[in-house]
């Protein structure tokens, strides 16, 4: 595997490595964060490393299940379990966004555990309540919440964030987003130069590395694009739950599918929206209008986005994957299927990080339908 891709996929999977190194080498603080609605620009500007927290599907989530109840998205329960077990290494703070209900409840659990069980020695936790209705009232609120986050991050860093540093961080993260879009083109090309699993790992790596390092590795990846092998498969667009690990992508691609695009924020959706100007006001708008993610966007906005994105990817089929207890995707799916007009399967109540019973048959039907369609042509 070419060197940049190898490094990126390794950081996408071993998500702690860069944080451990950052701490050892720069003596810098590491801040864990939950959800794509956390404005990481503030952390970068304060000289802290933002590390997006992910779950671990193979491991039991006993402590998380107990605190959050089993009625909540297992990914969030897994994140809480790993936090309580110290699975992310030392964290100097945690920022949680409101990207979905599970994240909010995870925040409440952390806040309450800190209050009633100080012996756990959890790091300080901050909720950044970025909301998404497309109204001016919401913009003003989000600005206030960003101001609040800025003040907390300044306390954690022990120094003020000056406007120049913030502007530089905004520019740096937008540059990273632009490069991610170029990388996404590699998986959409005919033939594809990246598998969906690889693309997902590359995006994940950029949420574990310092932004400068992530940018350099993406540039190196784009420079070595010619050496990347070609990939075949039924080109599918994946909608539904977000994937904080590559397990489901691997399972899908092992069955002859090629995930050429998705509409969740551990994938393409993460880099979709840019910041209009390097200012705090523009940053608030960027995060307010971030998405459209399943738990926050309207059915209409989701269907329109999925239709456009699936077309841009040259997808031949739509796969809806909804994890058990992830409530939003099931309501979106009928409109998405209709809007894309593609052959589609819906996999509901899927276990965390895996395909459930019956998924294999449903997917085989999809690949079978394509074989039949090609034969008829």
């Amino acid at each position: 595997m070419p060197a940049a891709l190898a490094r990126l996929t390794s950081h996408g999977t071993d998500r702690r490595a860069a944080a451990d190194e950052f701490r050892a080498r720069h003596h810098g603080g590491v801040i864990g964060y939950v959800g794509a609605d956390v404005p990481v620009e503030y952390l970068t500007a304060a000289g802290l490393l933002p590390l997006r927290l992910s779950g671990s599907p193979g491991d039991p989530s006993t402590a998380g299940d107990r605190c959050l109840g089993t009625g909540l998205d297992p990914a969030a329960r897994s994140v809480l379990t790993r936090l309580l077990e110290g699975g992310f290494g030392t964290l100097d703070g945690i920022v949680v966004s409101r990207d979905c209900e599970a994240s909010l409840r995870l925040f409440y659990a952390l806040r309450e555990l800190r209050r009633v069980d100080p012996a756990l020695a959890l790091p300080p936790v901050h909720l950044v309540d970025v909301l998404h209705l497309p109204h001016r009232t919401t913009t003003r609120y989000v600005r206030a919440k960003l101001g609040q986050l800025r003040a907390t991050v300044e306390t954690w860093a022990g120094r003020p964030i000056d406007d120049t540093a913030l502007a530089d961080a905004i520019t740096a993260h937008d540059r990273l987003r632009a490069l991610l879009t170029e990388v996404a083109a590699l998986r959409r090309s005919h033939p594809a130069r990246l598998t969906g699993t690889q693309a997902l790992a590359v995006v994940a790596a950029t949420t574990a590395l310092p932004v400068g390092r992530a940018t350099a590795l993406l540039e190196a990846l784009l420079a070595e694009a010619d050496q990347l092998p070609e990939h075949e498969g039924l080109r599918v667009f994946l909608t539904g739950s977000p994937h904080d690990t590559g397990h489901v992508y691997t399972a899908l691609e092992d069955r002859g599918l090629l995930v050429v695009g998705e509409d969740h924020d551990w994938g393409d959706l993460l880099s979709l929206r840019r910041t209009a100007a390097p200012t705090e006001a523009a940053l608030a708008e960027r995060y307010q209008h971030n998405g459209p993610a399943a738990p926050r966007a309207s059915i209409r906005a989701r269907a329109a986005h999925t239709r456009r994105a699936a077309r841009e990817c040259g997808a031949q089929a739509l796969v809806g994957y909804a994890r058990v207890r992830d409530d939003a995707p099931g309501w979106d799916y009928p409109a998405q299927r209709e809007a894309t007009g593609l052959p589609a399967v819906q996999l509901s109540r899927q276990p965390y990080g895996a395909l459930g019973d019956g998924a294999a048959e449903a997917l085989a039907e999809l690949t079978g339908a394509r074989v039949r369609a090609e034969a008829a042509r």
């Binding site: 109840g69 901050h126 309540d129 009232t137 003003r140 609120y141 409530d327 309501w331």
Partner: protein, 417 residues
């Protein structure tokens, strides 16, 4: 002396029927109708004279008439989940009912406006589907959350609500309510009068003050003067009508009736040995459940959230009336479901009522349950967690529930007697 059914409960139920029949006629004549979520600011509709039905009330009617499964099936047929937010989604299914004439209470008339906060991940989607129905507009409100809150909210809310809720959330919701008023003025042609609105807000506070007195009476009374499920209609039906003189007077009549029972020593269960608290939504499919342990164990449910949240959750005195209304709803469900608010409040109520044990219904979408149980246990109160979804009768087995509660009473609540 054993207790007969409350007159105020019967009166409220009768009023509700009559009101609903009148509403159906009004809407049939082409009037506007709003469908609003329980935790949304209905007072604006009241002040403007726009009739409304509360989404969760209608859901409870459908469920009580044992039609919930049919309605969930109608959603399933259209490819929508039947296992997510059923309490909110059941009324949506009424739109798809092939035989609306046979729906409970003659059926839910089609609303022209639906109002809800964007809580959870799915509830706004349910209202998106309402919005895609011909002639229905959805007005969404943000559901905002605060990073840091003062713990003892019930002491602050009545007058110092600005501090309890936080100014950012109040700015947001006040702005949204101004938008709602403009939207309603424009779509219904009705007028929003500040004078009328202030009256409505005063009536609501008066009503909740009566509820507060009633709650305090019941908390102190020994033995318990009324069955907990009887108090539900006496509190909730007026709650759906809050902002009217009928509702305020109904809350007072309920209070007077309870006071009368207390003074005559009326007992739900003359051999009262254990006072219990019920945490969670009502078991709509099995309301008799609450009384099943009186004869066998002398155990009486003295508390449910309906009266208690009416007593503590709604009062907002002083300040600008629109901002006070925002303060009523900007953090409404946090009071019940979000620690530390929820957990500490249940402990405070348990102590106030002198309960010997708590039965805690942990449903699938229960929020903060772990911390509630933990806080009660830390306060030395025995807790039994039941796991069931109150609306969806598929997931609960009545006999097993009865056995579980009976065993727990024997072992943990009455063992020291």
């Amino acid at each position: 002396m054993s207790a007969a059914r409350l007159a105020s409960a019967a009166a409220a139920t009768a009023h509700q029927r009559q009101w609903f029949a009148g509403l159906r006629e009004e809407v049939a004549d082409g009037g506007d109708l709003a469908l609003v979520n329980a935790d949304a600011p209905q007072e604006i509709f009241r002040a403007m004279g726009i009739p409304y039905v509360v989404n969760q009330w209608w859901s409870s009617i459908v469920t009580a008439k044992r039609r919930a499964q049919d309605y969930l099936g109608l959603l399933r047929e259209r490819g929508y989940p039947d296992d997510s937010e059923q309490y909110s989604s059941i009324p949506l299914a009424s739109v798809f009912d092939p035989d609306p004439a046979n729906a409970p209470w003659g059926g839910l008339p089609r609303p022209s406006i639906v109002l809800a906060e964007t809580t959870g991940d799915a509830s706004r989607k349910i209202f998106d589907l309402w919005d895609s129905q011909l002639g229905v507009s959805f007005y969404p409100l943000e559901s905002a959350a605060e990073n840091d809150v003062p713990v003892r909210w019930w002491e602050l809310m009545p007058r110092d609500w600005e501090r309890a809720v936080g100014s950012d959330r109040l700015d947001l919701m006040t702005g949204e309510l101004e938008g709602l008023i403009r939207f309603l003025e424009q779509t219904t042609g009705r007028v929003f009068s500040e004078t009328r609105f202030a009256e409505v807000m005063t009536l609501v506070n008066e009503q909740q003050e009566w509820n507060r007195r009633t709650r305090d009476l019941i908390a102190r009374a020994r033995p318990c003067p009324l069955p907990v499920n009887d108090s539900i209609p006496s509190v909730m039906i007026p709650q759906w009508h809050r902002g009217t003189t009928w509702a305020r007077d109904a809350a007072r009549a309920f209070h007077d009736e309870v006071a009368e029972r207390v003074s005559t020593g009326t007992a739900v269960c003359p051999g009262e040995r254990a006072r219990l608290m019920w945490i969670g939504r009502g078991l709509w499919f099995d309301l008799d459940f609450y009384r099943r342990f009186e004869e066998s164990h002398g155990a009486v449910f003295v508390w449910s959230m309906y009266l208690a949240i009416a007593a503590d959750g709604y009062l907002r005195h002083g300040g600008d009336p629109l901002r006070a209304l925002a303060a009523r709803f900007a953090a409404f469900s946090d009071q019940l479901y979000t620690p530390p608010w929820s957990a500490e409040w249940y402990v405070k109520e348990a102590r106030h009522h002198g309960v010997d044990g708590v039965v805690h219904l942990v449903s699938d979408d229960a929020r903060g349950s772990y911390f509630t149980t933990r806080a009660l246990q830390a306060a030395g109160i025995p807790v039994l967690e039941l796991h069931a979804d109150n609306v969806d009768a598929r997931s609960a087995d009545g006999d097993a529930l009865t056995r579980t509660v009976g065993d727990w009473l024997d072992r943990h609540v009455l063992a020291g007697d």
